[in-house]
Amino acid sequence: MPKPASAELNRAELYRTVRLIRRFEERAIELVRSGVIVGGIHPYIGQEAIAAGVCAALRRDDFITSTHRGHGHVLAKGADPARMLAELAGRVTGLNRGRGGSMHAADFAVGILGADAIVGAAAPIAAGAAWASRQAGADRVTAAFFGDGAVNQGVLLETFNLAALWRVPVVFVCENNGFATSTRTGDAVAGTIVGRGAAFGIPASTVDGMDPESVHAATAEAVARARAGDGPSLLECVTYRFDAHHTFEYAARPRYRSAEEVAAARARDPLDIQGARLSEAARARIDAEIEELLARAVLFATGSPHPDPDSALDYLYADGTRTRSAVG
């Protein structure tokens, strides 16, 4: 397994990413409450170690596809937090010019092919992009993020087969956070998640999804295998969703899990796990830096203009085709 240039730097970097995601989500939730972000978000809080660990093992030119719970992936892959926040606020300065929002952030400049609101639907897209990269002679790798719920989607399993058959350089990252909305993983998944990868001959392993360094190590191995032309891997990162499935839950107060259960899970917080590996001073320095960065991001987002309603059909067709509008 390839060692990072400097383990120290890597430690701090991983903590920095986890902290950035955590605080970004907390600020975003404030903006949902204050109405700046319309429609709510699916908070990534508790799962930060996965995005941080996976993306730390990727190059800038590697690709990822993300999910409805995708803020962490996008930030970890290197998108500008200010433009990400502007996207959540529906501003023209957003990553998608305000066309995508929380569930669809994309930034092709850093290899983020987009986040998908349809469970499992991005997996074949990731595999196709990975395959095409290899056809072009690049050693680029693609990581496809998805939840435990996605392993029950036919298209994901079809994609496992294609990726294995054609030795596609893709890393399948399953974030098993215990639930698909209110449904427990065990009530929806017969057999095991890793077993589903193994059935297609895909090397599959279970990883501690609360520890950024474990995730990074496992991903680095999978990425090395993919770059070497040895095909796909599946990582089941075991984690827990600390917050609501979606911010709409704040109103609904769901009964699918107890406060005790959540409290117990929170005892292993990726922020503390990685933070404990740094000196107090280093940690404080990073925390302060991130507060400032996010303060600027909030100002940037809230200060950016809303899109012009007359531009609503822009980009509908890539070649600029214009069809009929609403009133003929």
Binding site: A117, G149, N152, R324, A326
Partner: protein, 331 residues
Amino acid sequence: MANQSYLKALNRALGDEMARDPAVCVFGEDVRSAATNVTAGLLGRFGPQRVLDTPISEQAFTGFATGAALAGLRPLIEYQIPALLFLAFEQIADQAHKVSLMTGGQARVPVTYLVTGSGSREGWAGQHSDHPYSLFAHVGVKTVVPATVRDAYGLLVSAIRDDDPVVLFAPSGAMRRREEVDFAEVAPVPLGVGRVQRPGTQVTVVAIGHLVHDALAVADELAEEISVEVFDPRTVHPFDWSGLAASLERTGRLVVFDDANRSCGIGGEVLATAAEGMRLIAPPRRVTRPDGAVLPFAVQLDRALQPSREQLRAAILASVGSTQLAGAAHG
């Protein structure tokens, strides 16, 4: 009489039918915890054998319901997003819909597909905002889009009792409506029968789903100048053509108000059918989403692509060709 919500009407209709007929069962994601509230209380009343949380496997559980129907049950499936119907499209349009004819009448598939929250949900972006009822009208699956609390109850009851597959779209734009209603007194609303929600003499506005309420509001605004009839088809397939013809006999003018993409939508179908053989004294018009629209995330853009009251108002005025048109244009 109590003040009831549209959501409650769906929940009540489903519960009443499950109580009335042991063959009715429910499949869907998070139906036990009732994430959308449509299935609230059903697990407790009817137990886990009739209220099943499914894995995220739309194709399989849609086909599963077809099989259960072939074996005598009357399943209802809840889909949390209209786009999920795209995943199950083959199982609905190519399997469930074709069973009766292709078996020479040996079998029937009484399954109800309930979409909780169709059309735009502000802030949920393009993959959560489709309004694809016209796709089902084209392939021929019975399709209903209730506008009112009463009809949400009456149409869901009829959909569940129907012997063919039926898709029911519950528009997000109607979900929060409330009406004074005693469900015990609401009769099932037959599929294929529309309703004149407001009588008028000069122009017929055919409005679909939640837009019925906007149409009524515009009709009231214009009441001084123009007598607008608001026709709510309630079912988009099979459509109540005789009801529409009767309305056009009175008014001779037609404007359709349809929150779906323009080309090959039910709005176009209504114009086409009226033009083929109904009374029209002015060119028919429609107010729809643009061709091939994808609703962008930002609220300003999302709203810009949905049919508006202003657009309807202008279309009515243009249709009547009244002097108010010039007035509206200038003022």
